[in-house]
Amino acid sequence: MTARIVLVVAALTLQEAARRKVLRALAVLTLALLALSAWGFANLISIEFEGGTFTTGELRLVASQVLNLVMFGLSLIAALGTAFLAGPTLAGEIESGIALSVMARPIRRSTVLLGKWLGLVVFGGGFVTVAGLAQFVIVWSTVDYWPPRPVIGLALLAAQTAVLLTLGLLLSTAVSPMASGVVAVGLFGATWIAGVVGGVGHGLGNESLAQVGTVSQVLLPTDGLWRGAMHAFQDSSALAEFGGPAMQGGFPFLSRAPLTAAYLTWTGFWIALVLGLAALAFRRRDL
């Protein structure tokens, strides 16, 4: 019974995403980014400097970096898209009154919340997978580079979107639809910057600076997952050979280490916790 309602609401959420303008905006942004990256990668091979082109190893390192850069763009689009879907879908329905007739049905609020969450996760995951695969194909056809662990990387990116939209749902039970989207994206950006600061800290051997990154990655796991995803996309052998200095400086589009199981467990726990809080807040809310 409950599971059936979860699926009904999830399907409705997907239908909403598909029929609203968000999807068109996402598609346009994504296509623009993919086209731009295709053009960039096509030029990459022919770049000449100091009289020669890149060696294969160098090319792989640069390709890793640029791929990560473009994937960051994609994850940003996914984050923006889902955060701005997650907010309106709950807070917007409460504000407009759509929630009144829906919640007067024999269903629990937590069921509706879970359904919306599931729908958004599927949407975000689907977007990341399709756009990511398209990007891999572009890189492969232009510079003949295929990331070493594409499935893990994409799964981590999808998890990152899930984290952000869960946060968006929690925020949308408390504040207005627009505000929840803005705050979620703002926090996403802040953790990313904190992650970069932490990376620089590592590079300089400054413990307290490095801590900034670690703490923020625990508080909001988006950046940690993103770094795990980068690690799965980059060519580690090329990195070991040529990447020393880049790694030392904490370059934002290369990652030092894969994710630990503990961190993944924490992420799962974090999502469950935030979703539980959102359910609690939603249940207490007067419509």
Binding site: Q15, G97, M103, A104, R105, P106
Partner: protein, 328 residues
């Protein structure tokens, strides 16, 4: 299940209401509802019952707490105190709403869906099997048959309210709550709603109707509950509330004796040559002719005699003014 909760021995919650013990359980039973928004008390100790198949009007001025009471009944707002039984089940249990239909005061439906899809969604959420044909009939009943395939986002306000009515009625409810169902409707739509309500009565579906159109309430409701400032100011059947009939007479040359004769028939008010006598609830058939004959006998010139029924509107205004006077 219904009987279990209704007949739980010694439950203080149910002792107060004998009707709750009778089977089947009433459509809704609520007791001592209280709700405060910040420092403002919106609902203050409201209790009433809507029996099966009964149409009850919920009346009161703006801000009286009608919508808040309705939202508490449907579990949309958490009361600070009080109990609600919906179709025999505590309202905390979502399953109590399986056979309940609701048209909110603020009616909005997913703008990206078509009316047919909105109905399909609500049927699915209600967990009831309703064939496509019946859903289409439901849309036709509210006059939306030819718009079934358009997006709701492009609907006018009145069309959205019509869709709301269809949503309230589609899942074969046994109890329907309508919060100002005609606020956006044209005159024909209002007449349609009246017909819908009468059809619901035929099918013994209970209705709680909140409306500012008193004529509408008077025509279809069996009972009314009047709220004022969050409290029940009055409630009862229309006959109880409107019990008195009145007689309006335009008279000339009225002397003291004639005035005494009039006052003997019932409480008398006079303005110029217009006399109004409030008659008892069930006057016998000779009261009026006897009175007129008596007056003529006393030399009074009788210009006009017209029976009048106290309208619900007048009664409502009386009650609310009296309430206002009490508080001041």
């Amino acid at each position: 299940m219904t009987r279990d909760t209704a007949a739980r021995p010694g439950a203080p919650l149910l002792d107060a209401d004998v009707q709750a013990l009778a089977s089947p359980a009433p459509a809704v039973w609520c007791s001592g509802l209280r709700k405060q928004y910040r420092r403002r008390t919106a609902v203050d100790g409201v209790s009433f019952t809507v029996g099966r198949g009964e149409i009850v009007g919920l009346l009161g001025p703006n801000g009286a707490g009608k919508t808040t009471v309705i939202k508490i009944l449907l579990g949309l707002v958490r009361p600070d105190a009080g109990d609600v039984l919906l179709l025999g089940r505590p309202a905390r249990d979502p399953r109590s709403r399986v056979r309940v239909g609701y048209l909110p005061e603020l009616f909005r439906y997913q703008p990206w869906l078509t009316p047919a899809e909105v109905l399909a969604l609500h049927v699915r959420l209600a967990g009831v099997e309703v064939p496509v044909g019946e859903r289409r009939e439901c849309l036709a009943a509210v006059g939306l048959a030819d718009r079934a395939g358009d997006r709701v986002g492009g609907f006018s306000k009145g069309m959205q309210q019509r869709l709301g009515l269809a949503v309230a009625l589609v899942a074969r409810p046994e109890f329907v709550v309508l919060d100002e169902p005609t606020s956006a409707l044209d005159p024909i739509g209002r007449a349609d709603v009246r017909d819908l309500l009468l059809a619901l009565r035929e099918r013994e579906v209970a209705v709680l109707l909140n409306s500012h159109l008193i004529g509408e309430v008077e025509r279809v409701c069996d009972r009314v509950v009047i709220l004022d400032k969050g409290r029940v100011a009055a409630s009862g059947t229309l006959a109880e509330l409107l019990g008195g009939r009145e007689l309006r007479l335009r008279l000339g040359e009225v002397n003291a004796e004639a005035e005494a004769r009039l006052a003997a028939a019932g409480p008398l008010t006079r303005s110029g040559d217009l006399f109004t006598v409030a008659l008892p609830a069930a006057p016998d058939s000779t009261t009026v002719p006897d009175l007129v004959a008596g007056l003529v006998g006393l030399g009074v010139r009788v210009h006009a005699v017209e029976p009048g029924r106290i309208s619900l509107e007048e009664r409502l205004l009386d009650i609310l003014r009296a309430e206002g006077g009490d508080r001041r």
